[in-house]
Symmetry: C2
Subunit: 429 residues, 2 copies
């Protein structure tokens, strides 16, 4: 596997009472393995669609040419979507070092955030991908209409058909209607894969391909991980992770799960994980709260609380060795500053020293911490890691008897917002 799952510092024998006992872990692991078997054997269409998508190849033959076409004609690409329609793609695209097209994620509807983006773009060289499974997410549909109007006003009437793509479910919906009206193409959103599980579908892979990434390698990483799990559930990393998550919550009252990557390019991963975990498990009074952090910056913000606040957290570090990479601290300046121990050290050396020291400090303070250590920061590793978290979430849902799909509670708020928008204009002023 392209990552290591290091869980030693989750156990009583290493960190004391804050850890799980070997007996307890064995019990939960048995349940976790059984849960995985149930999931893989399930006839549920959503579950099967999520498990099977990494094996697919054929749809890549559709996605890649669409991406190539956008790469060719666009200097900038707007990716319009929110929540599960953007977080996965953002996480993947952060890997890319390609300079063009530049990708702009339009996720929010704050005028201060939206207006300046248009001011910086050439409408003749800008394309857009509009993503909404239902095709009716208000923010996305609103922004889609604004983008289309901007293209139509500032360029030829063919612009949408040449440079726009929608990803949405088959059938009648507002986004589909707009695609039909303005003659741009639609990639079908798998009806059985909800937004937060959609990173391995066109939702994640079309933007990734536009960003120049090897999307087959992303699927390959995910596939390898899934296969490993099926082959040997009892020693599969996601099964161990889910079993620990459940053991911590059910036996040790740990209510918070911190994901702290130690690479800037993985900062978005923690936001993607946050949605995956929160929306899948936060139901009927169950769930634990995911918290995102980034190392080392959040050592200077959150670490005091993690080490010495309430013992209500399980901390997952994501690392990828950076030793000997990056700029080097010059020896003469280090000596002038009395920092001889830093002379000749690369920034990556500092990063590695801090991540391993933080893991050790947490363990010394009796706080459970695991490390997911990637071999490399590439498509295959990230695909495997994201599939790890997908499986971990599905297994935990089964352990807690929670339906991981849908987000039923948010309907109240949507209905209230719509009634405000439908009301007399004066109410909004």
């Amino acid at each position: 596997m392209p990552y290591k799952h290091i869980i030693d510092n989750c156990f009583v024998n290493r960190i004391g009472a804050g850890g799980v006992s070997a007996d307890c872990f064995r019990r939960f692991l048995a349940k976790g393995s059984a849960a995985l078997s149930e999931i893989t054997g399930s006839a549920d269409q959503e579950t099967q669609a999520i498990l099977r998508i990494p094996e697919q190849h054929k749809d890549l033959e559709t996605i890649q040419p669409v991406a190539d076409q956008l790469r060719e004609c666009c200097k900038d690409l707007l990716v319009v979507g929110t929540g599960g329609s953007s977080l996965g793609a953002r996480t993947l695209c952060a890997l890319s070092q390609t300079a063009t097209p530049r990708l702009w994620f339009l996720e929010n509807i704050d005028p201060d955030g939206v207006d300046p983006i248009f001011d910086n773009l050439d409408p003749k060289r800008t394309g857009a991908v509009f993503i909404s499974k239902s095709g009716s997410t208000t923010e996305t549909v609103g922004l889609t209409m604004i983008v289309l109007e901007w293209l139509l006003e500032n360029t030829s009437s063919n612009a949408p058909s040449e440079r726009c793509v929608a990803i949405t479910e088959r059938g009648d919906n507002p986004l589909h209607d707009l695609a039909r009206g303005y003659k741009f193409s639609v990639l079908e959103h798998d009806p059985f894969i909800g937004g937060r599980f959609s990173v391995f579908s066109s939702v994640g892979l079309l933007p990734a391909a536009v960003a120049g990434l090897d999307i087959a390698a992303i699927r390959q990483g995910a596939r390898e991980l899934a296969e490993t799990c099926l082959k040997d559930p009892a020693s599969a990393a996601p099964v161990a992770g889910a079993s620990l998550a459940a053991a911590f919550a059910d036996e040790l009252d740990i209510s918070i799960s911190v994901l702290m990557p130690y690479r800037d390019r993985l900062a978005g991963l923690a936001l993607w994980y946050r949605q995956l975990w929160a929306e899948s498990l936060g139901k009927e009074g169950r769930g634990t709260t995911p918290v995102q952090a980034t190392g080392t910056v959040d050592q200077h913000s959150q670490l005091q609380l993690y080490l010495d606040g309430p013992a209500d957290k399980w901390i997952s570090l994501v690392t990828c060795p950076a030793a000997n990479t990056g700029r080097t601290i010059p020896a003469d300046l280090a000596s002038e500053a009395g920092q001889g121990h830093l002379a000749g050290k690369a920034l990556g050396d500092l990063l590695d020293a801090f991540s391993s020291a933080t893991a050790e400090a947490l363990a010394q303070h009796g706080r459970p911490v695991r490390e997911l250590r990637l071999d490399a920061l590439d498509e295959r590793s990230l695909g495997a890691l994201m599939m790890h978290f997908v499986l971990e979430t599905l297994i935990t849902a089964r352990l807690w008897n929670v339906n991981p799909f849908g987000q039923p509670a948010v309907e109240t708020g949507k209905t209230l917002a719509m009634s405000r928008l439908a009301g007399p204009k004066g109410r909004l002023a």
Copy 2:
């Protein structure tokens, strides 16, 4: 005051058992008022320095000319600092619409994040502000040396003295040594104001002034807020806020405090708050965990958990009316998409509709929620709001009998990291 503190949806009579009873609130409010009196009457130098700094004027006469000089000679400015040395300035600078100098916050040491910044800058037109209270934060000192070397290699040897400034404590420390060696100026960091309380000092205000903001207005907002508190503690917003925070934690086992601004320019505020709250209160097993979120995007990520997960959260929305601002949804497209109710609505209308609907949905689900509603997104309002959170934190610390200063637990990790860096090079490979 330039903001309203709307707390109705924190009480039993509005949201049911998830809220605080009137009796309970009265009890905590009495303690909170007493705590504020103790704080203002305290002879403790740290407390006094934090309370008094908004009243100062004289130091602005030093800060502003330094900023003007940097504005004049720099196209880009690197702000090198981490944690409390950057989060406050970032939050303030997000208000600015000024295009030059562009500000780059160098907070992390990941080579992937650092290297591309240098590639995009002209060393002849780039300045730097280096910020570390102790002058010895490893990441900051390391980055300082790298920036200095880059300036020296790519421009004249006078570059540091012309375009660099350090903010650090008086006395011998690595940052001071570098300033001496390379002849750049030093603004003294107040020895009694720790990083996370330093936003109203040169730490926050020098970058803000470079970004073209009215730093006197920031202080003015903070001062007005502090004065209001002193005049009438029992009805002051930060006293009510701290009393609620303590009541929720102590009586209702609420362990998580979510700060969710509904404006992109306030996204950084939630990260600043996160540090302030976590490092000040997360001690000796006490504290609650701050979580940052941004509306509306995180409605599509976290809201399901907030509404229907464990009842362990108190949610603070920060809003600022945006009605009638931003691009408008074109009527013809809205009609073609079957979204007539959105025709002619501005993006700001959508934002306001969603923030008030979310507050109502949370209340309907029995989850405590308050709103801090700013009159305007400007220096005075933001100054007042940040002072609100500073006071709320200090009062809560007093209620919980926690020392809000220092972050003693993180020393373990620093020592471990240093021993790794001092060890034989091979250990890092």
